[in-house]
């Protein structure tokens, strides 16, 4: 347990030894680096851009290059100066990082991602009740009060937080201000509610490849990048060189399967020529391909895509439609 009044004191101690990141109000709520806890906000539902950008930045320099005396010098970038602490990540986003780990781990490990991931301690914040209008994590089997994927989880209990420490790194952080923490009485852990399960969407969608629904959806869809860029599990990127052939940098930048030029090849052929194919790709990827590759649905129910879709397209409606139309 920690008293609410003591939380900032602890976080300030953390900020001395680590690079502290947390929710900041900068136009909208974003996870950003802070120097002290007074820059943080605590009464937020969730950030607009998910915290994936701290591990897979929208624009990331992979290496610099320059031509020198007939050869080329490559200077890899990346790496963290100090260990980082991310405060305030929600359980849905913490789960999304576990999913991204699947993508960036493996026999071809992505060091840029992994360095940031391994070098970051996560302090989760269990979700307030009631949830946002667009939240539906419980329908996908996620518990908004679960410490899964974080090193420490804080649950708001009015004037204090329940502190669940799940890892050694978490213990270290608590150890920085041990005097602020006190033991909890039993049975204080809240139980998350389960919503109607929508998990069968994964079994149903496979039968809908030819279904007319994708065209219907694509008529409303503008093909912008809101849903993918704000999705905590979307990870598509492009590699691009900036500079000249004499010197410059190679960047990795977010890209989106909703963009028409995402799969357009040199020479102009596009295997996903219209919105129908692109919309279908997105939902098949979330509910069919991702589970096939990694054994788990590629959606964590954070609801950002529904909340921010310019045209009011709602992923829960889509899931329900798939369940209604699809066959096992």
């Amino acid at each position: 347990m920690i008293k609410k009044a003591h939380l900032t004191q602890w976080l300030d101690r953390v900020a001395q030894g680590y690079d502290l990141f947390g929710p900041v109000l900068d136009g909208v709520v974003q996870f950003k680096r802070v120097n002290s806890s007074d820059q943080l906000v605590f009464d937020y539902a969730n950030s607009v851009v998910p915290p994936k950008n701290l591990f897979l930045p929208q624009t990331e320099c992979l290496f610099a290059f320059r031509r020198e005396e007939g050869s080329i010098i490559l200077e890899p970038r990346g790496g963290l100066e100090r260990e980082r602490v991310l405060f305030g990540i929600r359980p849905c986003d913490a789960r999304s990082l576990l999913l991204l780990d699947e993508v960036f781990n493996g026999d071809l490990e992505d060091t840029y991602y992994q360095e940031k991931r391994r070098g970051t301690i996560l302090i989760g914040l269990a979700c307030p009740s009631p949830p946002q209008r667009t939240c539906f994590c419980t329908s996908l089997g996620i518990d908004p009060l679960s410490p899964e994927g974080v090193d420490i989880l804080l649950t708001d209990l009015g004037d204090r937080y329940l502190v669940e420490v799940t890892t050694e790194k978490g213990e270290e952080l608590v150890g920085l201000s041990q005097e602020l923490f006190f033991p909890s009485a039993e049975g204080e852990k809240l139980k998350g509610e389960k919503g109607k399960s929508l998990e069968e969407v994964g079994e149903k969608i496979g039968s809908l490849w030819e279904d007319g629904y994708w065209r219907e959806l694509s008529r409303r869809c503008l093909g912008c990048g809101v849903c993918t860029y704000l999705c905590p599990t979307c990870h598509c990127f492009d590699l691009t060189d900036v500079g000249s052939t004499l010197s410059g940098k190679r960047f990795r930048c977010w890209d989106s399967c909703m963009f028409a030029d995402f799969t357009r090849m040199a020479g102009g052929v596009n295997p996903r020529p219209t919105g129908k194919e692109r919309v279908r790709q997105r939902y098949f990827d979330k509910f069919s391909y991702f589970p096939e590759r990694y054994g788990v649905l590629g959606c964590v129910g954070c609801g950002r895509c529904s909340q921010y879709c310019p045209m009011g397209i709602d992923i829960r409606t889509i899931i329900n439609e798939v369940i209604a139309r699809g066959a096992k």
């Binding site: 320099c61 900036v242 500079g243 410059g248 940098k249 960047f251």
Partner: protein, 140 residues
């Protein structure tokens, strides 16, 4: 004379008047700041405002468009379009905090070699006076 902290200025000069004016300044051996790059265009109206925006966003210190005097356009009316565009563009740039000195439109005829040299000197000076308030060039 030239020093390394002189601003770099991109000059678009119309082929028929201003470029000839620049040429005249050159052959007359008129002294002027060397940090300008002259791009010859067939008409000042060829300069898409996107050129200016891209140049300023990529770290150039200033952009100057030079055209024939109103009424003298080789294509009769190109510079009248330029005049409208330039004024609007300047307003837009200023609105987001790019000083008006950094984008200028001037009329220079083929015989105005001295005016060319003087214009470049003047604008270089104006931009230099802004120095220190320039955004750093883009990462990359």
């Amino acid at each position: 004379m030239a020093s390394d902290d002189d601003p770099t200025i991109l000059v678009f000069a119309c082929n028929w008047c201003s470029y000839a004016g620049a040429d005249l300044a050159g052959v007359s051996r008129l002294e002027m700041p060397p940090h300008c790059r002259v791009v010859r265009v067939m008409c000042s109206a060829r300069v898409r405002p996107e050129f200016v925006i891209a140049a300023l966003s990529r770290g150039l210190d200033g952009v100057v468009v030079l055209g024939c005097h109103p009424g003298d356009c080789h294509y009769s009316e190109g510079n009248y379009y330029t005049r409208r565009r330039a004024l609007l563009l300047k307003e837009l740039l200023e609105h987001v905090g790019i000083e008006p000195e950094r984008f200028q439109l001037r009329w220079i005829s083929a015989s105005e070699g001295a005016k060319f040299a003087q214009t470049i000197t003047e604008i270089t000076g104006e931009i230099k006076a802004l120095d220190g308030r320039r955004e750093p060039p883009p990462e990359g």
